[in-house]
């Protein structure tokens, strides 16, 4: 949005949407072929302006059954007996193709999800390719991974992924599964199916044997069909804690392996000796990256009381430079919320913050008239009892709390049902190590936040789930160990 009162107004720098090569309709991918689904197709929309992007096939129960049977045949017939080196070869091929089509995937991801092109271009897509490269390297080295001399795959993996990092989550799930010799049935999120279907195209072009990867799109009923099917040996789910619990209940009496990566309410802890400018960047990156729609988002800022004013003042000044708007503009920092339902949830929780007595602040920013938008928001004077300090908002809303001593910081940080991630900001190395040992979180970042690497395991404690993705640890979820 042009603001003529600015000295240096950045002219619009939009990435062309033609690069996404949007098709009018997309089909499901079963047994190496694209086909229509058994249920009525649905429209996927652009959350930035609520316009329809394309029609996407909706898988019916028969499609899920076909996909799982195809995966079983592929597992028994080819994939489980193929040499590790050959599986690696296919994975490298996929990785390179993702890189080659990176621009197309980035624009498509921003259109379908609402995230800024800077993030899809610089984070989502390169990391997705990196995951395929990383696990391609493990495929022929599994006997050296520390899971016994000849670790066996599990079989058919049903994988259900969320809408916040559509392609990246597909890569997190598919790459280790295939590297270990499993075959997969992947269900992308209902609101963001497009990049996973382009990935299916890439997989088809990479000549993977039919059935090794199947992609079935649709709503919760498709996920339920996968979970309740007795042909799956493993379920991997990333999403809300509520759905995760219901999956675990459904699998309670079955011999199906399960890994869950669920919600979070991470504490980002800033000590008085922190590098303040970098801490402020880390706070911004922690909660406004991907509009805060990140399970490991640093949604609770715990700042030492002696520097609380200085840090919040610096933070607010920094937030006035955030550019909110068109996700395809290369200068956009904060894009659109993914769906109307999510926006309603963010709004409802933010309102509870005001009602319960916290002080709400947002930088001056003009939001587009159409689409699902929510201004970056900071709540100060938040106490542990407030809903905004306890419930996962999954939006660009930061709750600021204070602490006086390291013990109090640990106590407050751990005082949550979740345990996915945490951040520690201090120039004192010994304090970082001491804090990391006491924080009940799967990932603890020191002087950084939301930093991902395929070699680093990721996963949670408590209601944030179990199992690890990424790194050598990520292999365990797909091996019979």
């Amino acid at each position: 949005m042009a603001d003529m009162s600015k000295v240096f107004e950045y002219a619009p720098a939009p990435e062309s949407r033609d690069i996404a090569r949007l098709k009018p309709s997309y089909q499901i991918f079963v047994n190496g072929e694209f086909r229509d689904g058994g249920s009525e197709p649905v429209k996927t929309i652009n959350p930035a302006d609520e316009t329809p992007l394309a029609e996407v096939a909706e898988a019916g129960p028969a499609d899920v059954d076909d996909a799982i049977r195809a995966a079983r045949r592929a597992y028994e017939g080819v994939w489980s007996t193929l040499s590790g080196a050959s599986r690696g070869k296919y994975l490298y091929r996929i990785a390179r193709a993702v890189q080659e089509r990176a621009r197309e995937l980035a624009v498509l991801e921003s259109l379908d999800n609402g995230k800024p092109i800077r993030e899809s271009r610089d984070v989502d897509i390169p990391l997705a390719a990196a995951h395929f490269f990383y696990y391609a390297g493990w495929a022929d080295k599994l006997e050296h991974a520390g899971f016994g001399p000849a670790p066996r795959p599990l079989g058919v993996a049903g994988q259900i992924i969320p809408w916040n990092f559509p392609l990246l989550m597909a890569a997190w799930k598919i790459a280790p599964a295939l590297a270990c010799g499993n075959t997969v049935v992947l269900k992308p999120a209902e609101t963001t199916p497009l990049t996973a279907l382009v990935l299916a195209e890439i997989i088809a072009e990479a000549d993977l044997p039919p059935g090794v990867v199947n992609v079935v799109t649709g709503g919760p009923s498709v996920g339920q069909a996968i979970v309740s099917h007795d042909g799956v040996d493993k379920i991997a789910f990333t999403g809300s804690t509520e759905v995760g619990k219901s999956i675990q209940r459904a699998l309670a009496a079955r011999d199906t392996k399960l890994t869950l990566e669920l919600g979070g309410k991470a504490a980002n802890i800033v000590f008085d000796d922190a590098p303040v400018d970098q801490a402020v960047e880390g706070i911004v990156n922690g909660i406004f990256f991907n509009q805060g729609q990140v399970c490991c988002a640093g949604s609770r800022l715990l700042v030492q009381e002696s520097v609380a004013d200085e840090v919040t003042d610096s933070l607010k000044r920094r937030l006035t430079t955030l550019r909110v708007g068109d996700p395809l503009d290369k200068n956009t920092d904060v894009g659109a919320i993914n769906s109307a339902a999510q926006l309603a949830r963010v709004r409802e929780l933010a309102e509870s913050g005001t009602e319960e007595g916290a002080v709400r602040w947002s930088p001056p920013c003009e939001l587009p008239g159409r689409g699902y938008w929510f201004a970056p928001t900071v709540f100060t004077d938040v106490s542990q009892a407030h809903r905004i300090a306890r419930e996962e908002i999954f939006g660009p809303v930061l709750s600021v709390l204070t602490f006086r001593t390291p013990d109090e910081a640990v106590l407050k940080a751990n005082n949550t049902a979740y345990g996915l991630s945490a951040g520690v900001w201090t120039e004192k190395g010994s304090r970082i190590l001491a804090m990391a040992a006491r924080l009940r979180a799967g990932v603890v970042w020191a002087n950084t936040f939301n930093k991902f690497d395929p070699a680093a395991p990721f996963g949670g404690y408590k209601e944030s789930g179990f199992g690890r993705e990424g790194g050598r640890h990520g292999l365990e979820a797909y091996l019979d160990v």
């Binding site: 000295v7 002219a11 400018d277 970098q278 960047e281 200085e310 120039e427 002087n447």
Partner: protein
């Protein structure tokens, strides 16, 4: 601490001796190098196009201190540089490129530059204080300054004693800046930190504050004789320093980046950094400068490309 207002008596207190200065400078928040580099990198991804680019290129030209600092400098060389400073693209100001901010020379050539630039708004800057090493007695350094000022320099670019800084003799560095400032009289003082020799970003932050507390009107990265010179993370830390100093004292001081900036694209990226780190108030030649020589020609080539859609060859800008 930074947000507390820094009253004059507090400045006197923290600069009383080496120990007080050390406590103050080492009490500033640390700089995490990885984080600073990452921030600089993200800022460099801003995409500046069309009208924004045209504005940034003209603004950059107006911020250039056109510099020649060679042993082989002659009055002839300085005269040709001055002509270019006034009319960078050889055209009249109307529709042509704007004038640069200043011409920067050694003290013995100040008089030549002053007479050449008489009647124009381009300022004359002179390096001084035993530039570039600063390895001389204070008396000699001050004599260097008074020579330049007497010859008509409106701006003086001094170097700090990096040896004293690295040895922890902060009070000595402080005193030399104060003495130089006094010698400058009405001339503006730019304090060269030579960040390539200070090595760490923590040191860059401390040296920046030291220079600002001592009364420097500008803090400047480098002499151009040491590599690395101006880098994005160093510029970031220095811009944070003037921003925080303004918040603490109400006084806006300038930043000059010098050495190694040759491409218009880099200059535009630095303006983005100024805009988003220090703030738009700093987007003026009064508070931000580029010390450069070859940068100007690339700015002119890009300016022409933007206006006409075609690149000029290198023979269409003057070589000085």
């Amino acid at each position: 601490m930074l947000t507390e207002r820094l009253a004059p008596d507090l400045v006197a207190d923290v600069t009383r001796d080496d120990a007080s200065l050390r406590r103050y400078l080492h009490g500033l928040p640390g700089v995490d190098q990885v984080g600073a580099e990452a921030r600089a990198q993200v800022l460099a991804t801003r995409s500046i196009k069309t009208t924004a680019k045209a504005w940034a290129i003209d603004t950059s030209i107006a911020m250039v201190d056109l510099t020649t600092l060679e042993g082989s400098d002659t009055p002839g060389k300085v005269r040709s540089l001055c002509a270019k400073a006034v009319r960078p693209d050889g055209r009249a100001a109307d529709g042509g490129a704007p004038q640069v901010a200043a011409v920067c020379v050694y003290p013995d050539l100040v008089a030549t530059a002053v007479s050449e630039l008489r009647g124009s708004t381009v300022r004359v800057a002179s390096v001084a204080t035993a530039f570039p090493s600063g390895r001389s007695s204070l008396a000699t350094k001050l004599h260097d300054v008074s020579d330049a000022v007497a010859a008509g320099a409106g701006e003086v670019d001094m170097v700090i004693d990096r040896g004293a800084f690295l040895a922890g003799r902060y009070r000595q560095v402080f005193d030399e800046i104060v003495a130089t400032k006094a010698e400058c009289g009405a001339a503006h003082l730019k304090v060269i930190l030579e960040t390539g020799e200070l090595a760490t970003l923590d040191n860059v932050r401390r040296a920046s504050w030291l220079a600002l507390l001592a009364g420097g009107d500008f803090i400047k990265t480098s002499t151009g004789k040491v590599s690395p010179a101006a880098t994005p993370p160093v510029a970031l830390v220095m811009l944070e320093a003037v921003r925080d100093f303004a918040a603490a004292t109400g006084q806006r001081r300038g930043v000059k980046l010098a050495g190694g900036i040759r491409a218009a694209k880099e200059a535009v990226r630095y303006l983005v950094m100024v805009n988003e780190v220090a703030g738009e108030e700093w987007l003026t030649p009064a508070l931000f400068r580029f010390g450069a020589s070859s940068l100007l020609n690339d700015l002119l080539l890009q300016r022409h490309k933007l206006a006409t859609g075609a690149y000029d060859g290198p023979d269409y800008v003057t070589v000085d």
